[in-house]
């Protein structure tokens, strides 16, 4: 019984991680239709930012405030990754809108450049981030059933990110402009919206959220130059499964993938489980090619 409950909790936790890595992509790929293969590297940038912030705290600040470095690291990784995203958009992506194949190859190349950059700056070996002490340990609900604080924290972080994104996209003027541009670029432009600015801002936000994901993942996994490659496939899968272009779809996609992952893994083993998940995703997409939630607008069919 405890095992079943534990697996459900594990499933939710995996879902929250998947959602966090896919959220940024839901914007750059989902809304903007840029096949951003460098998304994994933006996650990596976020993780390294956490490492740098930690380093600054240990060098310049008294030990008593060390535990709070993570509070600074989250916005810092958002900003750094967003900055990279902004530069990327302005120097490259901008010229590739509506050319998905070109953007696919170009961003893949950018990803490799960023990986090598990380290798040159931080060295090839992994670096360690010490988790703040308030995130160590877990909540023992009953014997054999533990919810670790880090996983709880990530679930909370994802909810906050989702909420912020929802408010931004659906409740702010900037978000309204963004939706207008994504749905019908020409119409939006003729109504006086600067599509250039909106594109740049949107891409930067997507990149920044990738950075937050990297920061959070530094609690759970390795921090090395190749970090992004471990997550990029899952991120794309979640967005495609959920339905390109809808936030709600991404949430459902992450939930579906996360629960299926842990279910199959506990029934078989990690490798076979993954195979079953892939099969399930393929089968599902055969049945519903547009994913869980599909966006019906006339604009989308002609926009690319």
């Amino acid at each position: 019984m405890a095992l079943v409950l534990q697996q459900i909790l594990n499933g939710l936790s995996v879902s929250s991680i998947l959602l966090l890595i896919a959220l940024g992509l839901a914007i750059t790929f989902g809304l903007m239709k840029v096949i951003n293969m460098a998304h994994g590297e933006l996650i990596m940038i976020g993780a390294y930012t956490a490492y740098v912030v930690q380093g600054l705290f240990t060098s310049y600040l008294p030990e008593s405030v060390f535990d709070y470095y993570f509070v600074i690291a989250i916005p810092a990784s958002f900003l750094v990754a967003a900055l990279f995203g902004l530069v990327l958009e302005m120097t490259m992506i901008r010229y590739l809108y509506g050319r998905p194949l070109d953007s696919l190859l170009a961003t893949w190349g950018v990803g490799m450049i960023l990986q090598q950059l990380a290798r040159s700056i931080f060295g090839a070996p992994n670096v360690a981030v010490v988790s703040p002490s308030w995130l160590n340990g877990g909540l023992a609900i009953m014997p054999g059933l533990v919810l670790t604080y880090k996983r709880l924290f990530i679930i909370g972080l994802v909810i906050v990110c989702l909420l912020c994104m929802f408010l931004y996209i659906y409740r702010s003027a900037a978000g309204r402009r963004m939706r207008a541009v994504m749905q019908n670029r020409d119409m939006a432009a003729s109504l006086g919206i600067s599509t250039r600015k909106v594109d740049a801002a949107t891409f930067a936000i997507g990149a920044g959220i990738g950075g937050i994901a990297g920061c959070a993942l530094s609690l759970m996994g390795p921090i090395g130059p190749a970090l992004g490659t471990y997550y990029i496939v899952d991120a794309f899968m979640v967005v495609v499964l959920g339905g390109v272009g809808k936030l709600l779809g991404t949430v459902l996609g992450a939930l579906g993938m996360g629960l299926a992952n842990t279910l199959f893994e506990s029934l078989t083993d990690a490798s076979i489980g993954k195979v079953f998940v892939f099969i399930a995703v393929i089968a599902f997409l055969q049945w519903r090619p547009t994913g869980f939630v599909s966006l019906r607008t006339r604009a989308l069919d002609t926009s690319d």
């Binding site: 992994n126 670096v127 996983r151 921090i223 190749a226």
Partner: protein, 433 residues
């Protein structure tokens, strides 16, 4: 029309992503377990026909060229650069002491780029074009397996410095890392005596962990242990929540960890978060050395065990000098580890063999190397003439809060290498592969 286009794009993405993860997987094993395939096991007496003089190309001049062939780029650079550094340091030391046969050693450095095919190509280039007397290099078993036919065909000489899965003894390779009976087998025996009989086997899903676990299972059966669970995860797997649930449900005394690379970081972090410490369940790893501890975090690993032949803390006078020199040359923050030491002593062993033979001719050096002794940082080693492995002392260490190991046990004397596990009754039938 539009729809069709989109389908192709999706297909292309999926293909590309598989390619990306494929690359990450096959080459991305950035940890100390240099070890893959068990296939074939090239036996003694291969074809050593052509070009035995290729090795002595530059002997007339006052220099002897030696090849250094490690991955200086790509994912394996993580581990191999340190070994490359240690080998260069050994060459420098030998030159400072007068060289070999009165001649200076000149390293010819090539980059294997984490690709087995590149290793094979560069090995050929080093032997044929540069005429090097010997090559020090390789890390993953995939790279060794790729270079092996080249060295056998051209009758070259390779010194391979990493622990591996055994079941191989090429006449053209000297193995200065541990084989299974110098690392895995004694550590299992030690665990059975000191930690408990219920084993959980956890490994990355490729040939080395599966081969190692096959050996461990046979040994446990013979020595009264029990396997309560066995799990494999893909290279680069990062979520261990389900595996940890299974471990808790199985209730083992010991987790025998053959995970390789970044997965170790995720596994240990999440194990600690689940509230399992080394006091509850001991994890013994064979791919976590000083270098990896820095990337995982000593606080996470504290109290867990590893099995190697050398630690930075190994107490020998030779090691004190070695560590001091290494840090002086490459920086105070660098650490030494088992494969680094194995690469370092490889250079000295070869130099001693050449001195003894009086020539760099491969066959003469091989003959002279038989039974050769050398006292390295990890203690005395002896080359076994039969299989060209070396006698090594087995050591089990415990991770301390400072990221270094405390030695809990050692085999007392160097253990004779037995790559085919011929002296173990329970291993009969394992080496068929």
């Amino acid at each position: 029309m539009k729809r069709k286009n989109r389908k192709w794009i999706v297909l292309l993405i999926v293909g590309l992503m598989i390619a990306v993860t494929g690359c990450g997987g096959s080459t991305g094993t950035p940890a100390s377990g240099g070890n893959q395939t068990t296939g074939g096991g090239s036996s003694n007496g291969g074809t050593n026909t052509s070009g035995s003089e290729a090795g002595s190309g530059s002997e007339e001049s006052g220099e002897i060229k030696v090849g250094i062939l490690h991955s200086l780029s790509g994912t394996m650079a993580i581990s191999e650069v340190s070994v490359h550094d240690a080998e260069l340091m050994a060459i420098e030391e030998i030159n400072a002491a007068g060289g070999v046969l009165g001649k200076k050693l000149v390293p010819v450095i090539e980059d294997g780029a984490s690709e087995p095919a590149v290793f094979a190509e560069k090995a050929r280039k080093l032997i044929q074009q540069d005429g090097v007397a010997t090559v020090f290099g390789g890390w993953t078993s995939a790279s060794r397996k790729a270079m092996l036919p080249v060295f056998e065909e051209l009758n070259g000489l390779l010194w391979y410095p990493v622990q591996y899965e055994g079941l191989e003894a090429s006449p053209n390779i000297f193995y200065t890392g541990a084989t299974t009976n110098q690392q895995i087998v004694p550590s299992v025996t030690w665990l059975l005596e000191n930690r408990g009989t219920k084993f959980f086997l956890l490994g990355s899903d490729y040939v080395f962990p599966r081969t190692a676990n096959m050996i461990i299972k046979a040994q446990l059966e013979a020595e009264g242990g029990e396997v309560v669970g066995e799990e494999y995860t893909a290279l680069g797997h990062t979520d261990y929540s389900t595996v940890i649930s299974k471990i808790i449900a199985a209730g083992p005394d010991v987790i025998y960890n053959t995970l390789n690379g970044d997965s170790n970081v995720a596994f240990f972090k999440q194990l600690k978060d689940a509230g399992i410490t080394a006091d509850d369940i001991t994890v013994l790893s064979v791919s976590v050395a000083e270098e990896e501890i820095r990337g995982i975090g000593a606080d996470v690993l504290e109290g867990h065990l590893a099995a190697w032949n050398y630690y930075q803390t190994t107490e020998t006078p030779e090691n004190e000098t070695f560590v001091a020199n290494y840090k002086a040359k490459y920086g105070d923050n660098r650490v030494t580890a088992d494969p680094i030491e194995a690469g370092y002593i490889a250079v000295y062993l070869w130099a001693a063999a050449v001195e003894k033979a009086g020539t760099t001719d491969v066959d003469a050096v091989k003959e002279a190397a038989k039974g050769l002794e050398f006292t390295g940082p990890g203690g005395k080693v002896t080359i076994d003439g039969d299989n060209q492995h070396i006698y090594k002392t087995v050591r089990i260490g415990q991770v301390q809060p400072d990221g270094q190991f405390l030695e809990l046990w050692n085999s007392g004397e160097p253990v004779k290498p037995d790559p085919y596990l011929e002296t173990y009754d329970w291993a009969a039938g394992l080496s068929g592969g």
